[in-house]
């Protein structure tokens, strides 16, 4: 059964594609806040986040004419925003991959460990650590922590299976934990020992 919000968004997109300005405005009102917040939390720069959201809507309008409701408009829009965030990262940090496949492979991310460690850090330290991990990890953590999306929605937005999202979340938490100053200090101490 297709949720009402899907139908509403799809109906608005269809009307918007026909030049209905009210429908376009309504759809922008529905999608822009979450898209802007995601882009801002991914990039940390307000101007970049605004550029990304604007570009995401241009791409959405371009696909509006041939829209087929296989996924929700919101999920599709989120995917565009994430991909644009990755593009921004690639353009600005070409030597840093979007996904760090090595990070978190061996980390022991028992439930609560990250929370315990993070609780000892200041919020600014935790946020700084969030910007040091790979964008793919940041994306899944931001969507999980801040938005109302469940694993199925995140999987659809990232074009992954739900199981892959769980694994990605696990690795992302481990990568974040490794970037916390406490973890760095502990690592330094163990190297000295």
């Amino acid at each position: 059964m297709i949720p009402n919000s899907w139908r509403d968004d799809a109906a608005l997109l269809k009307r918007a594609s026909g030049g209905d300005r009210e429908a376009s405005a309504a759809l922008v009102r529905r999608l822009m806040p979450a898209g802007h917040a995601l882009a801002w939390r991914m990039t940390g720069i307000t101007a970049v986040a605004e550029d990304i959201v604007q570009e995401a809507f241009i791409r959405l309008w371009q696909t509006a004419m041939r829209w087929e409701p296989r996924a929700s408009v919101r999920t599709f829009f989120t995917r565009i925003v994430i991909n644009l965030c990755y593009d921004h990262h690639r353009a600005n940090f070409p030597d840093q991959p979007v996904e760090d496949t090595a990070a978190g492979e061996t980390a022991d991310d028992a439930p609560g460990v990250l929370e315990e460690m993070a609780a000892r850090e200041s919020r600014s330290e935790v946020r700084a650590a969030l910007y040091r991990i790979a964008p793919r990890y940041r994306a899944v953590l931001v969507m999980w922590a801040y938005s109302e999306m469940n694993v199925r929605d995140i999987a659809a937005a990232m074009d992954l299976s739900q199981n892959a999202v769980h694994q990605l979340l696990f690795r992302a938490r481990a990568a974040l934990r490794a970037q916390l100053p406490n973890a760095q200090n502990a690592k330094g101490k163990s190297h000295v020992a």
């Binding site: 918007a16 030049g19 309008w61 990250l114 935790v126 694993v151």
Partner: protein, 93 residues
């Protein structure tokens, strides 16, 4: 929505730990810029516009009246030729 209570707790803890700094509101001009970039209603083809149809009808009327007038004038002159011919033949006879 996730219905797993542990997942909910973990999510809440994580969001708190990552810092719940409010996201800055997008600039006011952004909304208008995005709406302006949406597809515009396409104007109707020229021949379907009322003003164009009226002008076309008027032009056709002018052409029809002119043609009728030209034809009428030609018919008169042809009749005149016939009259002259008849008069000449009468003179010969």
């Amino acid at each position: 929505m996730s219905h797993d209570p542990n997942a909910r707790t973990s999510r809440r803890q994580l969001s708190e730990l990552l810092g719940l700094a409010p996201c800055p509101a997008p600039a006011p001009h952004l909304f208008k810029a995005i709406v302006d970039s949406a597809p515009q209603a396409r104007p109707a083809a020229g021949w379907r516009r009322p003003r164009f149809a009226l002008a076309l009808t008027a032009a056709l009327l002018v052409v029809a009246v002119s043609f009728h007038a030209w034809r009428s004038a030609n018919e008169d002159s042809e009749l005149a030729d016939v009259d002259e011919l008849a008069a000449a033949s009468l003179l010969v006879l």
